[in-house]
Point group: C2
Chain length 232, copies 2
DNA sequence: TTAGGCGAAATTGCATACAATAATAGAATT
DNA sequence: AATTCTATTATTGTATGCAATTTCGCCTAA
């Protein structure tokens, strides 16, 4: 009766897609990494065809850039793309919060609560900590039962990890957990506006910590040294 | 000097993608249409490989469904998917409005105004009228210069045409044009809240006209005839 | 030493071939 | 006549092959 033990879920192309996506989100493949079709295929035991398909999907999700004739690479969103992304995220997650506020089932509350506990537990492990923080948001989205909303929030959360990788500070995820707990409380209590405000603040604080204080253009970097050397 | 006259923009796969997308949005390929790789490739003069790539992209955009081993078909969103889709659209287009309100340049105003004029002119032509109405929204999104926002609004607008095709009434797009003009006025005047409210009303009226009063289950259809025949 | 160019190797773009799965039609049985 | 079974055909899943393009190392020339 057992059909195919290997490759959980859909076709094998999807498996490749998931593998790459995971690797990117975990920052095992940092932004900018080249993604040659045949080495990936060789490593994963599939042909270039399937890798290609996965890369197309990933590019549609904004996780990889597909430069014609020059191969695929993990995307390197600009600072402004990052800011815009969080703006869009805000708009969508506000809808999530509004949809969920006061409508959480006992079961959903338990799931979320357990997840937050997991976040607290993993506070020290940097990689897992980031992934779990993102998963909290996708979990919330999932509970809206709104397919397009789910898809977009998932995409944006995934891409956020790219932004964080590029422009985030080393240890920027500490206070996030407590904010998640607070948010859950507001949602349970059905205090929609407060929940939305909290979510806004939450995302804002992430962007503020991550995006603003970064000096990453050559100009800015040089500026620092220029000042140090008294060069105007 | 001339490189390649044919296929405007990116690779040929993109061309296939655009062709199919256009055909779907114009309802030349109505929801549910089978999309065999061979025949499409033959018709467009490319191999299955490229068609496949385009179909993957389209499936990511929610315009086609990719049933494993059973081929691709133009998506047939359910009524509930439709409602959720418009909810999501609302959240994003509110962001569009908030971003644009009071910040339109003279040039942008002219572009939008001209577009609305075009909509008025094409009022009689059903197909063009629907497409133009959608393009107004994507035009607005475009002006935000927010890449993710643009991408998602484009996707949702495209999918909306599927919803309209499935559940819309024959002539449901009449009042839309005047609402577009009103919206533009509010945006110019910088009356953000009023503009947002107008956008909300605008999308609401579309969904209300399109989604709610549809009799599409066999039960409902039969109910009509039952009443006509005095069959309770 | 640096810049430029040339050729080999690597990599992508695309088509095609073959295997696997599903759809279909026709025959045989009831 | 209806139905199930089977053989045939159509279509998808995946790998591979070839041409085109890029990348890289190496060599030459200033």
């Amino acid at each position: 009766m057992a059909k195919k033990m290997s490759d959980a879920g859909g076709g094998r192309s999807q498996a490749v897609h998931r593998a790459l996506k995971r690797a990117i989100i975990d920052q095992a493949l940092p932004p900018g990494s080249k993604l040659p079709e045949d080495s990936i295929g060789e490593r994963l035991g599939v042909s270039r065809t399937l890798v290609r398909e996965a890369l197309v999907r990933l590019s549609q999700e904004g996780l990889v850039e597909l430069r014609p004739n020059k191969g695929a690479a993990v995307a390197r969103p600009s600072l402004e793309e990052g800011r815009n992304l969080f703006l869009t995220r805000m708009a969508l997650e506000r809808l999530v919060v509004e949809t969920l506020s006061g409508n959480l089932t006992r079961e959903q509350i338990d799931t979320l609560s357990a997840h937050i506990a997991g976040e607290e537990a993993a506070r020290t492990e940097h990689a897992a900590s980031i992934r779990l923080a993102g998963e909290f948001h996708t979990l919330l989205a999932q509970m809206t039962n709104n397919a397009s909303l789910i898809r977009y929030v998932n995409e944006l959360v995934a891409r956020s990890s790219l932004i964080l990788a590029l422009y985030g500070r080393p240890h920027s995820s500490e206070c996030a957990v407590s904010e998640h707990r607070e948010l859950l409380d507001k949602l349970i209590a059905g205090k929609t506006d407060e929940a939305a405000a909290l979510m806004a603040h939450h995302l804002d604080s992430i962007t503020a910590r991550a995006l603003l204080p970064t000096e990453n253009s050559i100009q800015d970097v040089l500026a620092t040294y220029a000042v140090a050397e008294g060069l105007a």
